[in-house]
């Protein structure tokens, strides 16, 4: 009986926690941002097909690229091919690419259809309630986070300098990935670019 009621309490607490996610209002900026050098704590999210994945199982042996993506944002869409190529180029080298869609306006079915249409084969997670976007402080799409083998954040920001891909003169994300693979420090750890704001829940 005692065991049972404890279990009931745990379930109740868990369901309460689920019912009231600590999401900030869309009018307020995410209060926390993951700092360069900090370890990103494990999280679990479903993919666009509803299957649950945890970061600890998705992460690459050498490092992990997390990219906040969108289905409708033209900036994110301009990077579809480059994101796919990045995933393909580095998978065998031990770096995994994971997409996260935190836009409240883009449901899982849409993410699945979009990925199929654009040929995106890396895992894309659905971040309902933008919990992970808030935890990492992600504001735009596309916005990339690179974690090293130990899960430490070593780069955040743009993929490269050229939205349409015509005039790429710097490839910060790839440079950071190469640095991680070479066991070197990432030279530019934070580089922003203009993008679509993540549509957070109200």
């Amino acid at each position: 009986m005692k065991k049972l009621s404890t279990l009931a309490l745990i379930i109740l607490a868990a369901s309460l926690a689920l019912a009231t996610p600590p999401a900030p209002t869309p009018d307020e900026k995410a209060s926390t941002t993951a700092a360069i050098g900090s370890v990103v704590a494990d999280f679990t999210l479903p993919d666009a097909g509803g299957r649950e994945h945890s970061l600890s199982l998705l992460k690459g042996p050498k490092g992990t690229v997390i990219i906040f993506v969108a289905t409708k944002c033209p900036v994110s869409n301009a990077y579809n091919e480059r994101m796919q190529k990045l995933a393909q180029d580095y998978r065998a080298k031990g770096i995994n690419v994971v997409g996260i869609n935190s836009n409240s306006t883009e449901p899982a079915a849409e993410i699945k259809a979009h990925a199929a249409e654009k040929g995106l084969t890396f895992t894309i997670l659905k971040d309902e309630g933008n919990r992970i976007a808030d935890r990492l402080g992600a504001q735009v799409t596309p916005e990339a986070y690179l974690l090293d083998a130990s899960g430490k954040l070593v780069y955040r920001g743009r993929i490269d300098n050229s939205r349409n891909g015509d005039s790429i003169t710097s490839t910060e994300l790839r440079d950071a990935v190469e640095a991680v693979l070479a066991g070197k420090a990432v030279e530019k750890a934070e580089v922003r670019a203009f993008g679509c704001s993540i549509k957070r829940v109200s």
Binding site: K29, Q139, G157, N161, N164, A193, F194, G195, S197
Partner: protein
């Protein structure tokens, strides 16, 4: 969310009413300096790089006027949604005392098509308009506000000294923006 809507709606209505009133009065008053260009179908949009942006951000200070700068793009839905409010807001203030500038982050190839077309649609042809074609977006963002992540829309008010006194990432909230403009004009 509902609360903020309730706050914004009456204000938007008031803005719409005063904007309409302003137009009516406008016929009797001497025309505003650039009123005629407002009617032209395809307003000119000037392409700028980082140096041009720097100059633009310093232009209010040089003229001794507060400056509102709105960063937007035709592909940015909340930018498009807030545009009518910006246009109405402009009409509430004396063009000789306050500068407005619009900076589009559209693709440079859109400078003579979708960007001026949208500005024309919104009757925003009289706003000084620019398209930022930055070689390094990160450097451009730093020129404005190092704490900005680059998300659109973003709106800044600079006082007569060129100091940022208001910044809003995401859709503008008309009451707080008006408050900031009123304070900057004091």
């Amino acid at each position: 969310m509902r609360k903020s809507l309730l706050l914004v709606l009456p204000l938007a209505a008031a803005l719409a009413a005063s904007a309409a009133g302003g137009q009516k009065d406008g016929a009797a008053k001497p025309p505003a300096p650039k009123a005629s260009s407002a009617e032209s179908a395809a307003p000119a949009v000037k392409e700028i790089k980082e140096a041009g942006l720097k100059e633009l951000l310093g232009s209010g200070k040089a003229a001794g006027r507060p400056l509102l700068v709105n960063f937007w793009a035709t592909w940015c839905v909340p930018c498009r949604e807030e545009f009518p409010d910006l246009v109405k807001l402009r009409e509430l203030y004396d063009a000789a005392k306050l500068d407005f500038a619009l900076v589009s982050l559209d693709d440079p190839s859109d400078i003579s098509g979708p960007v001026p077309a949208f500005l024309g649609e919104q009757r925003a042809g009289h706003f000084p308009s620019y398209l930022l074609n930055a070689d390094d977006p990160d450097a451009a963002i730093n020129l404005i506000d190092p704490t900005w992540h680059g998300e659109l829309p973003a709106t800044f008010v600079l006082d007569r000294e060129g100091k940022i006194v208001y910044s809003r990432k995401g859709r503008i909230k008309v009451p707080e923006l008006r408050e900031a403009l009123d304070a900057a004009l004091k």
